[in-house]
């Protein structure tokens, strides 16, 4: 595949209450952003099993975005804290296995931050695009 044709495959795992609603708000406001992300909705980022993210990378994802509520704003009190802690550990794990930890991102986008959601997605897409295809991609096949 020619380098310029390559589009990253990015998985977005978002919580129902903040980031999914924020993404919906970006839609209502017709805020445009790159289409290179696919969303899986969970009730809370606390539900994000690190294995989901590893599975995505094994399957060949070029990047994973986990997005929840702001600290102190979690619909379930503290699920986002727990998710953030897991992401820290997971990032160091990714580095240890030789995968750029920038391919995994956790952000906090509230239900009223539609514009921020668009910025976040664009930034993640740009970051992952600059890193190029995941080196794990060929192992997945």
């Amino acid at each position: 595949m020619a380098e310029k044709d390559w589009k990253p495959q990015i998985l977005g795992i978002v919580c129902n209450w903040c980031s999914y609603a924020g993404a919906d708000l970006a839609g209502s406001a017709r805020t445009q952003y790159p289409p290179d992300i696919r969303i899986v909705r969970l009730m809370c980022t606390g539900r994000v099993d690190p294995l989901f993210i590893l599975k995505a990378f094994i399957d060949g994802a070029d990047g994973v975005l986990v997005s929840g509520c702001h600290f102190g704003d979690c619909h379930y009190l503290e699920g986002n804290y727990k998710a953030a802690k897991r992401m820290f550990i997971l990032k160091s794990l990714l580095k240890n296995i030789g995968l750029e930890d920038k391919r995994l991102r956790m952000t906090f986008v509230s239900a009223s931050e539609g514009a921020k959601w668009a910025v976040v997605v664009k930034d993640v897409v740009d970051t992952v695009t600059s890193l190029g295809p995941s080196p794990l991609k060929e192992f997945g096949q």
Binding site: Q9, L11, N16, W17, C18, Y20, A21, A23, D24, A26, G27, S28, R30, T31, Q32, Y33, P34, P35, D36, R38, I39, V40, R41, L42, M43, C44, G46, R47, V48, D49, P50, L51, F52, K55, A56, I58, D59, G60, A61, C69, G72, D73, H75, Y76, L77, E78, G79, K82, A83, R86, S110, A111, S112, E113, A118, G140
Partner: protein
């Protein structure tokens, strides 16, 4: 069940106890209870429906291409598209096809599930399937609307979204919502005009209502106002009857000088802990309970007379003194004095003055009270933005610059000056008064607030009228950006003030300077209508300061799990169609805590919130979404990690067959899945968001799902 797992599922979880899982016996047939870990038994047959939403989706996504693609997906038995899937014919398609094509799951690719998931779940149910066998692919808010100029990219994304949804729908299972009874009581937090109105409505609807107020009296901001626009009713005259009603309503349990300390539970069953702050004074009822016959505070004020400590009265914006034992103003409800323990020197003079009534207890401690309510209304109101941050207008620097709330007290007959407007510097009557509108509102400098505070234009017009009326010859100057007189009879009021002689200057004031000798103020501005600079000397400046959420709002909203907007106001469930609801079921918003509102809008919003809050109570029962955690006992090692992670104490370890396993108390579980995201053994089955279901979505995205 483990034997039935597809290759993808088993790849998803490295299960440390494969053997144990394989040896699992079939669960007892305790239908309709869901067996954790059990995926769809029979072959999945999914119906996929693609909505055009007029041109909302069809305008930027290639629907025929998406439809052709959906037909190639695994498990898809039927694909259709329609102009408006949410319309009755659209829903009928689903209902009829379920029988005709023997479907086991439904996928609708349309708008956000936050909008139409309930609609299509109902259609799925009407068609004869369990409503939770429905999954939505969001191809509008997160598809066509955000990739309007990228038809190719948007269409590819829509195809993937449908593939992901089909993968999940293939593994969805029957779930039964849990019906829980609703406590026949409500709570209203904040007793300004919004909270009072909401409490009165709830009480009049036959619901026991706890009205919690942090101040010693109810009434809120409205009780500080002199007149109300545009009718020029005296604020206290129209408010005090309501205050009296609240004090007397048999269904309202009023708790002033109290704050919400903790909230547990969920819609229908909120356990609220209230901190009743030590007031130092017993009410007649409390005194009677202590055996002091005919005792308790009757508001006589004998204590006030003897108290030696003098403090500024916050009700009068600090412009009038109060004692360490005080009431805010003569019309307080309840008429009970309060001891300010921060300034009380405990000399005991008040105790002696109170005499046989024995109302004063200087050793009183805070009390924690627990109540159970079905629903709650938050009505915490607003504070004035600290306008001294806008240094250029000289508040707190020059004596004759006041805020509009201070002006209200100065012009009010019951205020510190008996209604005679005077300059704070020398007590003289001002003859030229400038009103600076949008003081901190509509401010994009980062210092003030970006939003319009919505009622400042109108009250400033009222202020101009008041000084023209009270002080013959006094000239009001109004510096404005736009006059927003949007309400009923508001524009007419604006014309009236123009006719009365107020001078309007369009332009934001650059700065205010003081003449140190006269304490007069020099205003530098630009008249943007006449394109010329203004240098005006006035006797007094009134800043129509922006409003911001009350300080206690942040604590209250976190206790009730309510989100906030970017500007700090509490976030409604939907700005247009559910302005009183929140994303926390059973919690509603009334008044300014949701965003700036004038009094008519506040009262309307309070009545709306009260009505919404009364519905679950009158229904008597609510259904909870059945996204509970379930323990797959054969995989559970009994480590107890999840028990500590659960924010709701819904999980516990129990002894079963000689070993410890986790047990879920469904009524406490809110379905966040924090336990399921952590369990090292993969022993937690999060209903509707189970690991195999989520992993199937991830695999479908990245590995494809075409046949």
């Amino acid at each position: 069940m483990a034997e039935k797992k597809t290759k993808k599922e088993s790849a998803a979880k490295k299960e440390p106890k494969k053997a144990a899982a394989k040896a699992a016996a079939p669960a007892p047939a305790a239908a309709p209870k869901v067996t954790p870990g059990k995926t769809t038994a029979k072959e999945a047959r999914i119906g996929v429906y693609i909505c055009h939403c007029g041109t909302n989706i069809a305008g930027s996504i290639d629907i025929p291409a998406v439809q052709e693609y959906a037909k190639t997906l695994k498990n898809v038995a039927h694909v259709d598209n329609y102009q408006y899937m949410c319309s009755t014919p659209g829903q009928k398609k689903i209902e009829n096809d379920i029988k005709e094509h023997k479907l086991t799951g439904i996928v609708v690719a349309a708008c956000s599930p936050r909008l139409h998931e309930p609609t299509f779940r109902t259609a799925t149910k009407t068609g004869g399937l369990n409503p939770f066998r429905f999954e939505m692919a969001n191809i509008r808010e997160q598809g066509s609307w955000v990739h309007m100029h990228d038809r190719e990219g948007g269409t590819a994304k829509a195809k993937d979204a449908i593939r992901i949804a089909v993968a999940k729908a293939s593994l969805l299972e029957d779930l039964i919502p849990k019906a829980v009874p609703v406590e026949k009581a409500a709570m209203v937090v904040g007793a300004g005009i919004a909270g009072m109105q909401a409490a009165l409505d709830l009480a009049n609807a036959g619901i026991k209502t706890y009205l919690i107020e942090k101040n010693p009296t109810i009434g809120g901001r409205m009780s500080q106002l002199d007149k109300t626009f545009p009718t020029l009713d005296c604020s206290q005259c129209i408010l005090t009857p309501k205050m009296v009603d609240v004090g007397r309503a048999p269904n309202i349990e009023l708790m002033t000088y109290a704050e919400v300390e903790a909230v547990e539970g969920y819609i229908g069953n909120f356990d609220v802990t209230i901190r009743k702050k030590a007031r130092g004074v017993l009410t007649p009822a409390e005194a009677e309970a202590k055996g002091i016959v005919g005792g308790g505070c009757n508001g006589c004020g004998d204590c006030d007379v003897v108290c030696p400590v003098i403090k500024p009265n916050p009700f009068e914006m600090g412009m009038k003194p109060r004692k360490a034992i005080y009431i805010y103003h003569p019309q307080v409800v309840p008429l009970i004095y309060t001891v300010d323990f921060d300034s009380c020197v405990k000399c005991g003079l008040c105790v002696d003055a109170c005499g046989d009534k024995k109302a004063i207890d200087l050793e009183m401690k805070d009390e924690l009270i627990k109540v159970k309510v079905g629903t709650a209304v938050i009505a915490t109101g607003y504070d004035i933005f600290p306008i001294e941050k806008k240094d250029e207008w000289g508040y707190n620097k020059y004596e004759n610059v006041v805020t509009s709330l201070e002006f209200e007290r100065l012009i009010c007959a019951s205020g510190p000056t008996g209604g005679h407007l005077v300059r704070p510097s020398d007590g003289k009557t001002p003859m030229k008064v400038a009103f600076l509108l949008c003081a901190g509102s509509r401010d994009n400098t980062g210092v003030g607030k970006p939003y319009c505070s919505r009622f400042c234009c109108m009250y400033s017009l009222k202020h101009a009228h008041q000084i023209i009326e009270k002080i013959p010859g006094c000239q009001p100057y109004i510096f404005y950006m736009d006059i927003r007189s949007f309400g009923k009879m508001y524009e007419e009021f604006y014309y009236r003030i123009q006719d009365e002689g107020a001078k309007f200057m369009r332009g934001r004031v650059a700065n205010v300077l003081e003449d140190p000798n006269t304490k007069n103020l020099l205003i530098n501005a630009e008249d943007t209508l006449l394109n010329r600079p203004i240098n005006l000397e006035v006797d007094m400046v009134v800043l129509a300061a922006a409003v911001e959420p009350c300080e206690s709002t942040e604590k209250t909203r976190k206790l009730f799990g309510v989100s906030k907007s970017m500007d700090g106001w509490l976030l409604e469930a939907h700005p247009k169609l559910n302005p009183c609801g929140t994303t926390t079921a059973g919690v509603f918003l009334a008044g300014v805590c949701q965003g700036p509102k004038d009094i008519p809008d506040t009262v309307a919003s309070a009545e709306g919130a009260a009505s919404a809050a009364s519905i679950p109570i009158h229904m008597g029962e609510v259904e909870l979404e059945p996204y509970f955690a379930q323990c797959i006992e054969e995989k559970c090692a009994g480590c107890g990690m999840c028990v500590n992670l659960c924010p709701y104490s819904a999980l516990s370890l129990v002894e079963k067959d000689g070993r410890k396993v986790m047990q879920v108390t469904e009524a406490k579980c809110k379905g966040c899945g924090t336990c399921g995201g952590f369990c090292p053994g993969g022993a937690i089955w999060m209903q509707h968001f189970a690991t195999p279901q989520v992993v199937a979505q991830i695999d479908a995205f990245l590995l494809g799902g075409e046949q």
